[in-house]
């Protein structure tokens, strides 16, 4: 399977007469764009705002991030989500690099929503501060969940996917500035100099713990709560087969942008044929009951063994309860002789003294730590807020609170904030982008 990602490097994004891309400048006709987003009757109010790196701008509540893309051959960018269900991971896709489309609540946030600071001290907490963010700021008619802590956020999330494709369309017929090629030969038909190398699988555990459908990550449009581990090609992940859900606390989340650019997949590709033989992805899931967790670990270990994997990287979209799936999966792989590395964040509490993962096992002897969910962060007022700042304190975001007898509310009258890292949008870069680690103090 061979995937070509044609890159268009966006240097600036402007509103203007003609929606176009020229010399690195992406111009959006706002009226047209708003009309397109409003084609979904569930979007009752919407604006588009642009946030650039270095600006003194705070964005909250952020629900989803997507890289704008399109497929020149007409297949949908997110199969089963923005269009017909088709196989992906092969052929050509065009991508606008350096930008992301953000889905932002005009008023209301929910448990899994996050915050992004584009400049100042807060910018270091998420890699999304380094992108030009095209923010869809919207309200919807989803009255059933307006005041719920858990929201499916379907209309806003789908708006980001659809609008990302809409923007991608601008460069559909154009020649990309560079092309990245991702190609793996069928496992049994690889050159000897590749197949002799240690074989490696990537085990991904996307968030799928909500028993009620509509909150979980989707694979080809399918809710992953009703799913068992499956062998997938890494190109499918990079090419829109998975979209992010609306449940996991923000710093532990994999947004759709993360799936499209999954750094751990790209690093494995870099080593493929040099130091490892990258077999592919065992796409697992995250579960609620112990029996479900165990069943998935059995599937994963069996697949890895049958595929002939010598090594594996396991990575989880989450912390807390999902740590049980993560550690159990690592142990199951080690038990069948697959040497395994784990990539995850930790949750050591505000004093740093709590057990870092919910479960521990000596067999998990090679772990990468990407950050601490519970680190307290205090940040000054931002000049401009996209969305609604009060949402951080009021709406049950995982790292915000409306009342604390010692710390006060997360959002203060002067516009400064205090929060847990938990609510930094994709702040722990568990998909592999994190340049943070954890140390003993």
């Amino acid at each position: 399977m061979k995937l070509e990602i044609g890159n268009f490097y966006v240097k600036d994004v402007l509103f203007g007469e003609e929606t176009s891309y020229k010399d690195g400048i992406l111009t959006i006709n706002k009226e047209d764009a708003l009309a397109f987003i409003k084609e979904d009757e569930h979007i009752t109010d919407v604006d588009i705002e642009i946030a650039k790196p270095g600006e003194n701008t705070r964005i909250v509540p952020v629900k989803e991030a997507v890289e704008p893309r399109v497929r020149p051959d007409g297949r949908s960018t997110f199969p089963g989500v923005t269009g017909e269900l088709e196989a992906c991971g092969n052929g050509r896709v065009h991508a606008l690099k350096g930008v992301s489309v953000l889905g932002v609540g005009m008023h209301y946030g929910s448990f899994g929503d996050g915050l992004i600071d584009m400049g100042g001290e807060g910018a270091k907490y998420t890699l999304f501060s380094q992108l030009i963010n095209i923010c869809i700021v919207a309200d919807t008619d989803e009255e059933f969940e307006r005041f719920e802590q858990q929201k499916k956020n379907r209309a806003i999330r789908w708006a980001t996917h659809r609008f990302a494709e809409y923007l991608g369309n601008i460069v559909k017929e154009m020649d990309p500035e560079t092309i990245d090629v991702f190609e793996l030969d069928p496992i049994l038909k690889r050159e000897e100099n590749v197949s002799k190398l240690p074989s490696v699988v990537l085990v991904m555990q996307p968030q799928s713990q909500m028993e009620e459908l509509g909150y979980n990550d989707l694979v080809y449009g399918w809710d992953m709560n009703k799913y068992l581990p499956t062998f997938m090609h890494p190109n499918e992940v990079l090419d829109g087969a998975l979209i992010s859900g609306s449940f996991m606390p923000a710093s532990s989340k994999w947004s759709t942008y993360d799936f499209q650019n999954f750094p751990t997949i790209k690093e494995l590709y870099k080593e493929h044929g040099k130091s490892i033989n990258f077999l592919g992805v065992i796409m697992s899931n995250l579960n609620v009951s112990l029996e479900q967790k165990k069943r998935s670990s059995i599937f994963v270990a069996q697949m890895a063994k049958s595929l002939g994997a010598d090594g594996a990287i396991v990575t989880e979209e989450g912390y807390g309860n999902p740590d049980a799936d993560y550690i159990m999966c690592i142990r199951a792989l080690e038990d069948v002789g697959v040497k395994t590395v784990g990539i995850s964040n930790e949750c050591t509490g505000r004093d740093g003294a709590s057990q870092p993962l919910v479960t521990l096992d000596e067999k998990a002897d090679a772990l990468v730590s990407t950050g601490n969910v519970s680190e307290l962060i205090e940040l000054p007022k931002a000049d401009r807020v996209i969305g609604e700042l009060e949402a951080l304190a009021r709406d049950g975001l995982s790292g915000g609170w409306s009342y604390d007898e010692i710390l006060g509310p997360s959002v203060r009258e002067d516009g400064s904030i205090i929060m847990e890292n938990n609510a930094m949008f994709c702040g722990d870069g568990i998909s592999g982008g994190s340049i943070k680690t954890m140390k003993e103090f």
């Binding site: 930790e346 002897d365 982008g433 994190s434 340049i435 943070k436 954890m438 003993e440």
Partner: protein
């Protein structure tokens, strides 16, 4: 100039060795023994030196701590340094004890230094900064320097680094840091995997503590012929606590003859365990060490024999290492006395 107070034992104060280990706490103005070195390296004036015999601190802990805290009440100081204690066990425990108490009472940082084999490390590393020190006094200057360098950062309001960077024992406090080389988690993970696949050394970013699992014993075939012993971590002892078992973070255990007793009487036995409300256990020690019930079983023939002694220590705050050592010592005695089974009563 900021001010520091230094704690040392009777040996380093030049008062004497083992024969003077019962020396009571004393405070002197100015410098004594290792304080000279400390004073020359720290960005503060070492105004006072506190001296205490290791045995006195070990056996009259509450009294010693109280006395020293009283000394300090009238003194203005910014930082408290103890030791270095090297591999001297009692000295290390004393340094840990006093550092913890001073830190809690006066809210200043307390710093000490010990060798990794010193039992004080496991007992106090979560409470205070313990620097990794040498085995013997030959390393005195090096160990004092490590403490002073770190103290200077605190005194000068500078940012302190991780346990690794600074050289103190890990306190179990984990916090996120940004890597200077900006190496991504993806890259680190792939590099770690390649090393693991090639059987090369790699360093995990989250070390998992080793678990010392003990297999569950086989059942006793015929209980009516078995010799059964009672062992407890609930701190039941004769009221005078003859073996001076500590109320928390125990390093000692005791054995007590119960062959002529039918039950443990209140007022004769009590609990010294500091981890729970002792009222019920003091009123009836049998609720923790069920001698009364065992004697009944003996009369009914349910068990063949009740071992002559019961064994006791305190579980609260006791490190796994100390607990394991004490367990092994007790097991040796039980084996020698042909005990077939043990009821281990915790609280």
């Amino acid at each position: 100039m900021k001010k520091a107070v230094h704690y040392i034992n009777q040996f380093f104060a030049g008062i004497g060795g083992e024969e003077m280990a019962d020396y009571k706490p004393e405070i002197r103005e100015g410098l004594v023994g290792p304080s000279l070195a400390l004073n020359s390296m720290i960005d503060a004036e070492v105004t006072h030196t506190i001296i205490c015999g290791d045995n006195f601190m070990g056996t009259h802990t509450d009294e010693a701590v109280e006395e020293i805290l009283k000394f300090l009440e009238g003194i203005d100081f910014d930082i408290f340094i103890a030791g270095p204690a090297f591999n001297a066990g009692r000295y290390g425990v004393a340094c840990g004890t006093i550092c913890k108490a001073v830190k809690e009472k006066f809210n200043v940082e307390a710093i000490t230094s010990m060798n990794e084999e010193n039992p004080g490390v496991d007992m106090f590393k979560k409470d205070i900064y313990i620097f990794k020190g040498g085995k013997s006094a030959a390393k005195l200057r090096d160990d004092v320097k490590k403490m002073a360098d770190f103290a200077n950062k605190i005194l000068n309001g500078k940012k302190t680094g991780s346990a690794d960077e600074e050289g103190f024992f890990e306190r179990g406090i984990r916090s996120q840091v940004w890597l200077d080389d900006k190496k991504t988690a993806a890259r680190r993970g792939v590099e770690m995997l390649i090393k693991k696949l090639n059987n090369e050394e790699f360093v995990t970013e989250l070390p998992i503590p080793k678990q010392d699992r003990v297999d569950i014993a086989h059942p006793i075939k015929d209980l009516s012929k078995a010799n059964i012993a009672l062992v407890t971590t609930g701190g039941i002892v004769p009221v005078e606590n003859p073996d001076r078992i500590q109320s928390a973070s125990a390093t000692r255990w005791g054995k007590y003859d119960i062959s002529n007793l039918e039950r443990l009487e209140s007022g004769v036995y009590k609990t010294i365990h500091a981890g729970f409300d002792p009222a019920a256990a003091d009123a009836d020690p049998n609720v923790i060490l069920p001698l009364d019930v065992m004697k009944e079983y003996l009369r009914e023939g349910k068990i063949g024999k009740l071992h002559k002694y019961f064994y006791s220590t305190v579980g609260t705050g006791t490190t796994q290492k100390e607990a394991s050592r004490m367990g092994k010592e007790i097991v040796e005695e039980l084996k020698k006395d042909k005990v077939d089974g043990v009821i281990l009563v915790s609280t």
